[in-house]
């Protein structure tokens, strides 16, 4: 992939994003879903690869139940 192609792609995405017409409620729901998924994954997921990576972080946050 060359630089020009990447630039073209970026411009296309930027144009698409600017022309998107999503209601405030939908945006809020999307935001809450993303934040919820990220927080659950980082703080509560039991998937071993994720848990092992964030193990020390969870223990250092006082009240996040790690195990």
């Amino acid at each position: 992939m060359n630089k020009d192609h990447l630039t073209t792609q970026a411009k296309r995405h930027a144009k698409l994003t600017l022309t998107l017409n999503i209601s405030a409620l939908s945006k809020a729901v999307i935001l809450l879903a993303i934040v919820g998924i990220v927080l659950y994954t980082v703080l509560f997921s039991t998937y071993p690869a994720v848990h092992d990576f964030f193990h020390e972080l969870r223990h250092s946050l006082m009240m996040i139940p790690c195990h």
Binding site: S23, A28, V35, L39, S60, L61, M62, M63, P65, C66
Partner: protein
């Protein structure tokens, strides 16, 4: 009458001796550093159990049972699997009236420790004490928690502002269209 009086006197003497013997065996413990400054899951605590008989060090067999803090259904610790469980159940014999033990307490909260002692020289002489003590949370973990809450609140506020501005812009556009 004289025999009855002598019998009563003998019983009284025996009871007094038993009470004194029970009171004579004392068990206590000390820690190298103050429990208020100990961080759970961080500082290894050296505990020294002392047994005295009539005020003098005396050897005894100790039975030490340590229970972890009870489960708090509202706020968990970072190690909930040990909440409300028996952490330690062991026996040991004092030497020179002392028994040392090192332990890493896993979580914050109120621990209950029951220590029973049986004198080695007078096996009939026993005593049991229940000690309770509380450990505070590590200060840096508390700070980390406040930082996490601050980050979450900041993200919430920033998202709210962005979404509100976007909604206002959309309503203005639809009003002008």
């Amino acid at each position: 009458m004289k025999i009855l009086f002598q019998s009563l006197l003998l019983n009284a003497l025996l009871l007094t001796a038993a009470a004194a013997a029970t009171d004579g065996l004392q068990v206590s413990y000390t820690t190298e550093q103050s429990l208020a400054t100990i961080g759970p899951d961080e500082d290894v605590v050296k505990m020294t159990f002392s047994v005295t008989k009539d005020g003098a060090p005396s050897d005894a067999q100790l039975h030490i049972v340590l229970d972890s803090p009870e489960v708090n259904s509202i706020i968990s610790t970072d190690f909930p699997i040990v909440e409300g469980t028996r952490l330690f159940d062991a026996r040991g014999i004092t030497q020179g009236g002392k028994l040392e033990m090192s332990y890493l307490f896993p979580i914050r909260g109120q621990y209950t420790m029951r220590v029973s002692a049986q004198s080695l020289t007078t096996p009939a002489l026993t005593t049991a004490e229940t000690f309770t003590f509380s450990l505070n949370e590590n200060p840096h973990e508390v700070i980390n928690f406040y930082i996490l809450i601050s980050i979450l609140v900041s993200i919430g506020l920033l998202s709210g502002v962005i979404l509100a501005k976007s909604a206002i812009r959309q309503s203005n556009l639809s009003a002008t269209a």
